[in-house]
Amino acid sequence: MGASQTRTEDVFQELSDKTGFSLEQIRILHKRFRQLSGEEDTISKENLEKIQALDKNPIRNQIIEAFFDKRNQNDGEVGSSREIGFQQFVKVMCHFKPPTLKMTTEDKEAMRREKLRFLFNMHDTDNDGTITLDEYRKVVEELLSKSGAIGLEAAKAIADAAMLEVASINVPHMEPHEFYEGITFEHFEQILKGLEMESRMNIRFLDVDTSTMHCGKSQ
C-alpha cells in the first residue's frame, strides 16, 4: 500500500510538471477518473456514456469521442482508442486550462492554437485535415439536434452559409468553377480569431476536493 502510494504520487508529480496542473488538481481528477472507470485503470466509451448529466447535451457524442481521439494526445498518431488511461484523460483536460497571468503573448497564441486544434479535431471526423461541407453540416445538425424538425431543415442552410463565409474571408476570389475543398486549420484559425479562445475555452479546475461535500450527487 505504501509503495504504491508513493508510486502514484510520483506519477502525479510527473504529470503535474508535464501538464501544468497543480498536484491537488491532479489528485482530484484522479479521483474522478476512478469514479468514472469503476475503480479500473482505464475508461472506455461506455463509462463516459453512463454519465447522466451528459444526456441532455446535444454534442455529447463528439465530446466523448474527443477523449478517445488519438490526435488530441499530440503523439502524432491518428485514429481512435478504445480505452484511455489516466494520463490521456489528463492530457485532454489540459486543453481546457485557462491562461495564467504570467503568460506572454506568444504563449497565449500557442495556447489559442492548441485549443483551436482541439475544436478542429472534433469537427474533422475523417481526419483529412479539412472540414468539408458535410462534416460542418453534421456539426450544425448535432447542435440543433435537440430542436426537432425545424432544426434539421435550418441546419443545412446555416452550414452552407457558414461555409461560404469561411471561404469568402479566406479565399476571396474564386472563379465560378473553382471548388473550395474544405476549411483548413489556418482558415479555421482565421475565422475564429475574434472569439479569443484562450479566454473562453476554459473551465475551472477544482483546487479543493469538494466531491465529498456532495452527498451522492456527483456521478
Partner: protein, 710 residues
C-alpha cells in the same frame, strides 16, 4: 418651459461640434456640453435674470435619469454582464463602501487637523461620511458618455459600466442611512447591522420589482399582435412604472430599471413587430441622448449659478482622496477577485478601471437634495462635488483616450458577429458544460445550461407568442443576420454592385462538392421540349399539392399585410437583383436571398393572423394567378430560402452546359416576385416543390427571356 426648450435647442447645437473633427477627437462630448452649460449659465447671469433652478433634483431623478438608465439596461449585453457578475458586484458594493468610508473618514481627520478655527472644525463625522458616500459613486451617465467614445474592449467596458449601474443601491442606502443617523446623532452596532440588511433589501427589492415589471411587460407583449402601434408604449410605460415604484418604496430605482429592461428584452423582441422594435430602439437612443445633453448642460449652468463656498483645503483634499481611494480600492479588490476569476485582470485592466471611475451628475443632485438646515456645510459640499465632477469628467475624460492608446489596451472588436462565431459560441457552451459534467463538478457552465433549459421549457412558452417560443437560438440568430444582410442589400440600393461585407467572388457553387450524391445521378439530361412539358404538368400538380403543403411551417408565414412599406422594399430589391442578374457577385452569406426579410419579418411580427389558414387561403389565389403565367416560376416570391438552398444543391448536381448560370439562379428568381411577395408567404412551400420539380436549365434561360417584372 422656456428655459427647457431653450436648452433643448441649444443641445441640438452640439452635433455641430462634430463638424470640428479635431476637437471632438480630443475633447469628449461631455466636456463640451458642460462648457456650453457654463456659457449659457454665464449668459443668463449676465442678462441679470434669475436662473431657474433647472437642475432641480426632482426633475433630474424623475425625468432626466430614467431614459438613460433604461437605454443602458435594455441594451445591456447580458452575456458578458452575467459572466462577470461576481467581479462587478465586488467592485460596486465593496468598492463603493470602501471609497465612501475612506473619503469620509479621512476628510473628517483632515478637518479635525485644521489649526485655524474655521468652519471645517465644526464638521462632524457623519456629515463627512455622508459626503463621502455621495461623492464616491461612479456615475453611469458620465461613464457612458466617455466610454462610448473610446471603444474599449468589452470586458473592461462592462466592468466599469456594470459597476456604475449597480452601485446605485449602495449609494441610496448609504445616503439614507447617514442622513438619518446624523439627525439622530449616534450610531450603534445594531444600526450598522440594520444598514447591511437595508442594503440587501434595497438591492434585491429593486431587482425584484424590475423583474416583475419586466415579466409583465413581456407577457403583455405576447398579446399585442392586434395593436402593433402601441407596443413601444408598453415597454416605456412598464419600465417607468418599475422605476417609480421602486423609488416610492425607497428601493433602488436604477436597479429596478436595469432589471426590467434586461428581463423584458429577449421576450419582447421575440413578440413585437419589426417596426416597433425599431421604434423602441430609436426612441430610447433619442431620449437618452437628449437627457444626457441636458444633464451636462444643466450641470454647467448650476455651476455658474450656484452659490459656492470655496474652501481650498476641503476641495483639494476631496479630489485627492477620491483618486487615491479609487486606486487603492481597485487594486486591492482585484487582488482578491483574481483569486476567483478564471481569466485574471491585468495591471493595465486595473488601471483603466480605476481611471474610469468618473463622477457625475448623480452625485451633484444627491448633494443638492441635502437639507440646508441640517447641513450648514451644504454649499461647501456642493462646491467640492462640482469640482470633483469637473475634474473627473474633464481631466480623466479627456486623457483616458490617449492613455488607452498609449497603454495599447485591447479595443472593441468592431467586426460583425459572423455565423461561424455564433455556431462556435454555442458549440463551446455545450462543450464546456459537457467537460464540466465529465469532471463531475457543478460549475458555472452547468448552471448556465440549466437556466437556459428552464428558460426554454417553461418561460419562453409563456411569454413568447406562437411558434417563436420553440425557435432555437442559432436559427434565430441566423435569420436575424439574413434579414440584416437583405436590408443592407436594399439600402445599397441604387448601385448595381452589392457591397458585400467581405468582397469576394465566392459563391455557393464553389462550396458545393463536385461529386453529386448518387441520388441526383438519377436525373438524366432531358431534351428541352420535354422539359417544358414536364414543367407544365408539374405546375398543374403543384396546385393540387398546395393544399397538402399548406401544413404549417414557420417559413411560409405571410408577411404582415398591414406593413406596406415592405412592398416598396421588395420592389427595389427585385429591381436591383434583376440588374445584377448577370453578375456573379454574392454576399458572403449567399444563402440569404434578398427576399428573406419578408420571411424573417413575418416571423418577427408573428402576426397570429398569419398563422391562420384563412389568411393563407386569401393570399393563395394571388399567387395562383401568377403561377399560371409562364414566367411564374421565377416570379414566385418568398422562396423559403432554406428550402431553396436545398433545391439549388440538388438542381446543380446535373451538369448541363449552361450550369454556369445555375449560380445566378439564386438571386433573380426570388426577388423578382418580391412585389407580389407580400402575400406570398404560403407559396414558399409550393415554390419549393416547383423548384424541385422543374429543372434549372430551362428556367435559367427563361430568366433571360422574360420581361423584367416590376
Amino acid at each position: 418651459p422656456l428655459s427647457v426648450s431653450l436648452s433643448l435647442s441649444l443641445s441640438s447645437v452640439f452635433p455641430g461640434f462634430h463638424l470640428i473633427p479635431r476637437l471632438s477627437s480630443i475633447v469628449p462630448e461631455s466636456c463640451l456640453l458642460i462648457t456650453v452649460g457654463l456659457l449659457v449659465g454665464g449668459l443668463i447671469k449676465l442678462a441679470g435674470e434669475k436662473v431657474p433652478p433647472v437642475l432641480d433634483s426632482k426633475l433630474f431623478f424623475l425625468c432626466l435619469l430614467p431614459p438613460i438608465i433604461l437605454d443602458a439596461g435594455y441594451f445591456l449585453p447580458i452575456r458578458p454582464f452575467m459572466e462577470n457578475l461576481g467581479t462587478i458586484l465586488m467592485f460596486a458594493v465593496v468598492g463603493t463602501l470602501w471609497n465612501a468610508f475612506f473619503v469620509g473618514g479621512l476628510l473628517y481627520a483632515v478637518c479635525q487637523m485644521q489649526s485655524a478655527p474655521s468652519d471645517l472644525l465644526n464638521l462632524e463625522l457623519l456629515p463627512c461620511l455622508l459626503f463621502g458616500s455621495v461623492v464616491s459613486a461612479v456615475d453611469p451617465v458620465a461613464v457612458l458618455a466617455v466610454f462610448e467614445e473610446i471603444h474599449i474592449n468589452e470586458l473592461l467596458h462592462i466592468l466599469v459600466f456594470g459597476e456604475s449601474l449597480l452601485n446605485d443601491a449602495v449609494t441610496v442606502v448609504l445616503y439614507h442611512l447617514f442622513d438619518e443617523y446624523s439627525s439622530v446623532g449616534t450610531v450603534t452596532v445594531v444600526d450598522a447591522v440594520l444598514g447591511v440588511l437595508c442594503f440587501l433589501v434595497v438591492a434585491v427589492g429593486g431587482v425584484l420589482v424590475g423583474a416583475i415589471y419586466g415579466i409583465l411587460a413581456a407577457f403583455t407583449s405576447r398579446f399585442t399582435s392586434h395593436t402593433r402601434v402601441i407596443e413601444p408604449l408598453f415597454v416605456f410605460v412598464y419600465s417607468y412604472m418599475a422605476y417609480l415604484s421602486a423609488e416610492m418604496f425607497h428601493l433602488s430605482g436604477i436597479m429596478a430599471l436595469i432589471a426590467c429592461g434586461a428581463v423584458m428584452r429577449p421576450y419582447v423582441e421575440a413578440n413585437i413587430s419589426h417596426k416597433s422594435h425599431t421604434t423602441i430602439k430609436y426612441f430610447l437612443k433619442m431620449w437618452s441622448s437628449v437627457s444626457e445633453t441636458l444633464i451636462f448642460i444643466f450641470l454647467g449652468v448650476a455651476t455658474v449659478d450656484g452659490d459656492h463656498s470655496w474652501n481650498w483645503t476641503f476641495v483639494t483634499v476631496t479630489v485627492i482622496l477620491c483618486l487615491v481611494a479609487r486606486i487603492i480600492g481597485v487594486v486591492g479588490l482585484t487582488f482578491i477577485i483574481n483569486k476567483f476569476r478564471i481569466v485574471k485582470l491585468t495591471t493595465k485592466d486595473q488601471f483603466i478601471i480605476a481611471y474610469g471611475g468618473l463622477r457625475g451628475a448623480i452625485a451633484f443632485s444627491l448633494g443638492y437634495l441635502l437639507d440646508n438646515d441640517r447641513y450648514p456645510m451644504r454649499r461647501m459640499f456642493l462646491t467640492a462635488i462640482i469640482t470633483v465632477v469637473f475634474f473627473t469628467v474633464f481631466v480623466q475624460g479627456m486623457t483616458i483616450k490617449p492613455l488607452v492608446e498609449l497603454l495599447a489596451v485591447k479595443k472593441k472588436q468592431e467586426a460583425k458577429r459572423s455565423i461561424n462565431e455564433e455556431i462556435h459560441t454555442q458549440f463551446l457552451d455545450h462543450l464546456l458544460t459537457g467537460i464540466e459534467d465529465i469532471c463531475g463538478h457543478y460549475g458555472h457552465h452547468h448552471w448556465k445550461d440549466k437556466l437556459n433549459r428552464f428558460n426554454k421549457k417553461y418561460i419562453k412558452k409563456c411569454l413568447i407568442a406562437g411558434e417563436r417560443s420553440r425557435e432555437p437560438q442559432l436559427i434565430a440568430f441566423y435569420h436575424k443576420m439574413e434579414m440584416k444582410q437583405a436590408i443592407e442589400l436594399v439600402e445599397s440600393g441604387g448601385g448595381v454592385k452589392l457591397p458585400p461585407s467581405v468582397p469576394s467572388t465566392v459563391s455557393m457553387q464553389n462550396i458545393q462538392p463536385k461529386k453529386p450524391p448518387p441520388v441526383e445521378r438519377a436525373l438524366p439530361q432531358i431534351p428541352k421540349g420535354r422539359e417544358d412539358e414536364i414543367r407544365k404538368i408539374l405546375r398543374g400538380n403543384l396546385q393540387k399539392t398546395r393544399q397538402r403543403l399548406r401544413s404549417y411551417n414557420r417559413h411560409t408565414l405571410v408577411a404582415d399585410p398591414f406593413e406596406d412599406g415592405w412592398s416598396d422594399l421588395l420592389l427595389k430589391k427585385s429591381k436591383m437583383i434583376e440588374l445584377e442578374k448577370k453578375m456573379n457577385n454574392y454576399l458572403t452569406v449567399p444563402a440569404a436571398p434578398p427576399d428573406s426579410p419578408t420571411i424573417t419579418r413575418a416571423r418577427l411580427s408573428s402576426d397570429p393572423q398569419t398563422y391562420q389558414m384563412k389568411q393563407m387561403s386569401d393570399s393563395v389565389p394571388t399567387i395562383q394567378v401568377d403561377l399560371a403565367s409562364p414566367q411564374s416560376p421565377d416570379s414566385l416570391s418568398l422562396l423559403d430560402e432554406l428550402q431553396r438552398a436545398d433545391q439549388r444543391r440538388e438542381l446543380r448536381r446535373r451538369p448541363p452546359p449552361d450550369e454556369e448560370e445555375g449560380g445566378l439562379m439564386m438571386r433573380p428568381p426570388q426577388a423578382r416576385g418580391g412585389d407580389q411577395g407580400e402575400e406570398g408567404g404560403p407559396s414558399a412551400k409550393e415554390q419549393r416543390l416547383q423548384r424541385c420539380l422543374s429543372d434549372p436549365g430551362p428556367s435559367a434561360e427563361d430568366d433571360e427571356d422574360e420581361p423584367f417584372l416590376s
